[in-house]
Symmetry: C2
Subunit: 552 residues, 2 copies
């Protein structure tokens, strides 16, 4: 009865043509007096306007090609089938089960209200994966083709990773009308990511983040078609990572070495959870700076001096001792086996030279090496040895831009992560050296401000710098950064979502996908999906309301 | 074994005097390499430093008087008794049960580790309430006296509301040491609020907030010794309040009149939940502006004109029609019975005159009344009639400052809520008219910025304006505002807490409680308590970590 009344009010407003006192001023599809689900009957298409007047079933990030057909099909959650032919894998099997819930979020309502049986029913999604399962890498093909037709729709992908992206798209295409019917528009989608590197940095050193929150965040990344969790796992502030080889690192370096740690199982859990969702976990072990919490390793950090005496404080890792490299070889050897991804982020940012400069032993060693007082040479020496060690593990590596800025010679396959201001010049400089780049500078979401900030992130074009087309091709993608100075498990999710969706579309969709008004409508709908899916995505998109609001 | 090892590391650091490579640079009680619970053995006091080096068992907001004794007592959660003599009430009975859990948050650990049986045990808190139960009002006495001694501690209060505040203090005094023992320092506390009006505004019109979130927020208010939930329940954007008398208000005005509403039970639930915790619920029904969502009431809003014709848009409530006052009398009659508190907030802010000015019928009426084109007189006419109506309900009222700014003559017992910039001048002006004031201007927490913003709110002194001591006495307190343009159930809690704790101490504690460093230590501990108590208070206090971090 209540539902009938609601619809009566809505229809009234539209039948009356928004005259009189019924729905004045706000009389538009997004007006505050309109209950959700404004049904606009425009012929057989049954176009359905969502909470903020956008056609529901919109897709985020926007596919490369999407042809929308004339028909609208009904779907029944009770009988709908996800089937698969071609190469099977544990990833696909789990994803098919997961996406049943994500495609049909409120099973409760589905049996109660059903008014549109006349629409030809869409009864199955047939998934075909062409290639055998292989772990996701930077080179993985994430493309897919989706044909929404009745009675059977089809999803075709070369890899299971493309199938995951297509399942996400399909789950977004299906929407509910004002009677809670499930519907999908006829259409054909051909889709692939513009950039292969679509990362999101979390920082678990400034503040510890419980694994339960990290897993929820990985879900959120998958819903946005991100594909990398850049796990800035340790830093000066704390060392929560439990090393098998060097347990003292977390025993001394963690905020609490019983509760505030990621033990072997925790790390494996995060990696496996990511794998199942097409999210590569790329760890960052930042050296030689940002290593105060590594202090338990004897002689690793440089003792700082003042007036000819050690001050009792320590600087960056000491590059002058052989013991340093013995340790690094052993430590990164463990990292290489614990983290399955091809890539390791080696940091290299913000190395202060003052402590090295204060230390007479370092100076004497540099003199012997003929470095004089050129500390960039010392840093270069360190980085070169580190890169050789990690290269020997058959891992590729990513570094922060300073390694290049400080004239360190790096291997040609190095990926440079640009994070400082003036990024356009830096991108030009780095790509001129024929090095790959990943952009982060304009995407520091830890910086917050009042109001609607997503268009600022959305408007960034990572290839908008002076350079040849060959240089532009060296832009692998970008990494959204949520540094942890003011972020922990209490606010990671609402602060990251939906703001970081802006960047996920920039990194996935065509270079021409720049229409903020179009994006806003789709963002609102997708943000509401996040709430339904258990992610407390805050209202950063001027959305009035969602079908389901956040509850505790 | 793990626990032993952890303590071993901590004690090592202190025994070694922080020398050598064990704990360099960060070697201070708040250093990142120190596991939590640094035990400093300074004689028999067993002073316990919390996560950030602060003595645990600190109290927020700071009591008016607190004498700390020499002894530290152990408490056993299994056998500890909360007893009451004197006047009983449902409020006290429920609070005693609630505060058992809040005082002893991790019962699991309590039976496992117990190393300090030698400390004389504190076995009970005896609560005495002198006066018979009476509903909480602005005049209620919230003072209490707490003597922490062994074996029995005592809490004495004139009213149950004072007892609630004392229970909150007692629950904070009890802390856990590094072995998870419960301890409390001997001491005597005499406490009372500096200001009786300590409000927190939530806005459920810009965005709907589910009742479950509001209830959790009320818990959070009680933990901070706030005493008023200012419920800005409706506004232009939506009308979620379900009126028995005028159901069309929410039927037309709610975002969704089935799901995005506060029905009769919801409102009663919020009020009762607040009552049990000493939180008065003061609703705001803002008129004559901010009423676009009231549109379903025939002829209530003023039709705007352009070029001699109605534009189809509407302005503020139409003060010129008798039907307006008939409606208001009936509507506020219902509000007066639905909300139990003595006070109603009547709004009155941001009344635009342009629509009134455009309407020929309004102009003709004003002419007849001799108002000419003085729209302040029209507003005054409206406010006077509204105030008379609400006064007839035996309710007191609060209004936003514009009602005074626009020269409306108000009754002497009016409370003026100052919210605009230049608040010092406004406070001087309003109190010069011998009117009571409540301050909000510097406490708009919906405005966010990067970093540590609580000291800004903490540094505000509400009586720091030019005026006599009689004028200063008219400052009843303040209201923290969390307007809802960018806030809903996803972020209300982390955005409000711990930032608004700064204001709760300003409003409760002595005028001399201004030491930011002292406050920071206590804030950190209290913020960690919020996490334990299920409130996702974000890390806005530069706290490194908490005993328990947020999990999902």
């Amino acid at each position: 009865m209540a539902v009938i009344m609601r619809n009566f009010v809505v229809l009234c407003a539209f039948i009356l043509g928004c005259k009189a006192a019924e729905v004045p001023q706000q009389c538009n599809p997004s007006g505050p007096s309109s209950p959700h689900g404004n049904a606009v009957n425009s012929g057989r298409q049954n176009v359905h306007l969502g909470p903020d007047g956008y056609v529901s079933g919109s897709i985020w990030p926007k596919p490369q090609q999407h042809t929308v057909g004339e028909e609208t099909f009904s779907l029944s959650p009770d009988t709908f089938k996800f089937t698969s032919t071609g190469e099977a894998s544990d990833v696909l099997t789990a994803a098919m089960a997961r996406y049943r819930g994500l495609t049909f979020p409120d099973m409760i309502h589905s049996n109660v209200l059903r008014f549109r049986r006349d629409l030809s029913a869409l009864t199955s999604l047939e998934i075909t994966v062409k290639e055998k399962y292989a772990p996701m890498t930077f080179e993985s093909d994430e493309s897919y083709a989706l044909a929404v037709s009745a009675p059977a729709s089809s999803l075709t992908a070369n890899t299971v990773w493309g199938a995951l992206r297509g399942l996400e798209t399909f789950s977004q295409l299906v929407y509910q009308d004002e009677h809670d019917n499930y519907l999908a528009r006829e259409g054909k989608i051909t889709d692939f990511p513009r950039f292969h590197y679509r990362g999101f940095l979390i920082d678990t050193s400034r503040h510890f983040i419980d694994v339960s929150v990290i897993l929820r965040h990985i879900d959120a990344l998958a819903y946005a078609k991100y594909n990398i969790l850049h796990w800035h796992i340790v830093d000066d502030q704390s060392f929560p990572f439990v090393s098998k080889t060097f347990p003292s690192l977390s025993n001394v370096g963690a905020y609490n070495n019983v509760t505030h740690i990621y033990d072997i199982d925790d790390v494996a859990t995060v990696i496996e959870y990511g794998r199942m969702r097409g999210i590569r976990v790329v760890p960052e072990f930042d050296t030689p700076g940002h290593t105060q919490s590594w202090v338990s390793i004897k002689d690793l950090l440089t003792p700082c001096y003042s007036g000819g005496k050690p001050t009792g404080t320590y600087g960056p890792i000491n590059p002058t001792l052989n013991s340093t490299y013995t340790f690094l070889k052993s430590f990164f050897g463990e990292i290489g086996t614990r983290f399955l991804d091809d890539y390791i982020h080696l940091g290299g940012d913000e190395v202060s030279f003052s402590c090295w400069e204060s230390n007479p032993n370092v100076l004497a060693w540099m003199d012997k090496m003929g470095f004089g007082k050129n500390f960039s040479l010392l840093e270069q020496y360190y980085e070169q040895k580190l890169i050789d060690i990690v290269g020997g593990l058959k891992k590729k590596y990513i570094i922060w831009q300073e390694v290049i800025d400080n004239q360190v010679t790096v291997n040609p396959d190095t990926v440079v992560n640009v994070w400082k201001g003036g990024w356009q010049n830096e991108m030009a400089k780095v790509t001129a050296k024929n090095l790959n780049v990943v952009l982060s500078s304009p995407w520091y979401l830890n910086y917050i401000s009042y109001g609607n900030d997503w268009p600022k992130y959305y408007s960034v074009e990572p290839t908008a710098f002076n350079g040849t087309s060959a240089q532009k091709k060296l832009v692998l993608g970008g990494t959204t950064c949520m540094w942890g100075e003011w972020v922990d498990g209490t606010n990671l999710l609402p602060r990251s979502w939906p703001r970081s969706l802006a960047i996920s579309e920039r990194l996935w969709s065509s270079i021409n996908t720049t229409d903020v008004a179009d994006a806003q409508g789709r963002l609102r709908e997708h943000r509401c999906r996040y709430l339904m899916r258990g992610i407390p995505a805050q209202n950063g998109v001027q959305s009035k309301y969602c079908r389901y609001e956040w509850t505790l």
